[in-house]
């Protein structure tokens, strides 16, 4: 079963949560990224995500493998929406389980940061005023200014 989902419809996060639940794990950490109503001072009415699915899933699996290696977590899931999203919609969901909380928090942070930089996913923002535009926030190293739309 793939640990990474690129979804054209809202994701049932309860199912993802149940997939992760296991008796050896006492820590479950989730990050949800939502569509925010403003970005860099402009009012956002909604946005469209598109993905190169096959590479996005492959790269997402590599990121989770790295998180398992680095932090010793037990398991993780990542789901990212594509298609048209409105303000308040969940764009990305990351869930991590581990025996203890510290590695779950750190791995969750690692996964979302890497997802934003590495997954071939693109975002076109629509504004209340003015022309829509493709948002370019990456191939930037982690320490550069974060143009991220949420989080």
């Amino acid at each position: 079963m793939s640990r990474v989902t690129i979804a054209a419809q809202p994701v049932d996060t309860n199912t993802l949560r149940k997939e992760l639940q296991q008796p050896g794990c006492g820590g479950f950490c989730v990050f949800e990224g939502w569509v925010r109503e403003t970005n860099e001072g402009r009012e956002v009415s909604g946005l469209d995500y598109e993905a190169y699915n096959e590479l996005a899933i492959g790269e997402g699996e590599r990121i989770i493998d790295e998180a398992v290696q680095r932090f010793g977590i037990a398991d993780a899931r990542c789901a990212h929406r594509v298609g048209s999203l409105a303000v308040g919609d969940t764009a990305v969901w990351i869930g991590v389980v581990s025996p203890h909380r510290d590695e779950a928090f750190r791995a969750c942070r690692y996964i979302i940061d890497q997802v934003k930089q590495r997954l071939p996913i693109w975002k076109k923002e629509h504004y209340l005023v003015g022309e829509s535009s493709w948002v370019a926030c990456a191939h930037a190293p982690a320490d550069e200014h974060d143009h991220a739309h949420q989080g």
């Binding site: 190169y52 990212h80 979302i112 997954l119 071939p120 493709w134």
Partner: protein
């Protein structure tokens, strides 16, 4: 001549006016292929702003490509 399929996403898709095309080229590297397609479609993104994938694996720009490859140029990403 090598025959490959190229897929376009985001601004490249809009500028190409299509999501996918099959082309023949005698370019000797992925960089040279992008140069040809950039000229044909008027892509505004410079190669320094892109990555490239062949058959769903990231590749170096200086690598060659083979008949039947699926090539995707990756504009700056913005997931999350």
């Amino acid at each position: 001549m090598t025959s490959v399929t190229v897929e376009y996403y985001a601004q490249l898709r809009e500028q190409a006016g299509q999501g996918r095309e099959t082309i023949t080229s005698d370019a000797d590297s992925l960089a040279a292929l992008y140069g040809e397609l950039r000229q044909r479609h008027g892509f505004r993104l410079d190669i320094a702003q892109l990555k490239v994938a062949v058959n769903a694996q990231f590749r170096d720009w200086q690598q060659a490509f083979a008949d039947g490859d699926l090539i995707v140029f990756i504009p700056p990403v913005a997931g999350g």
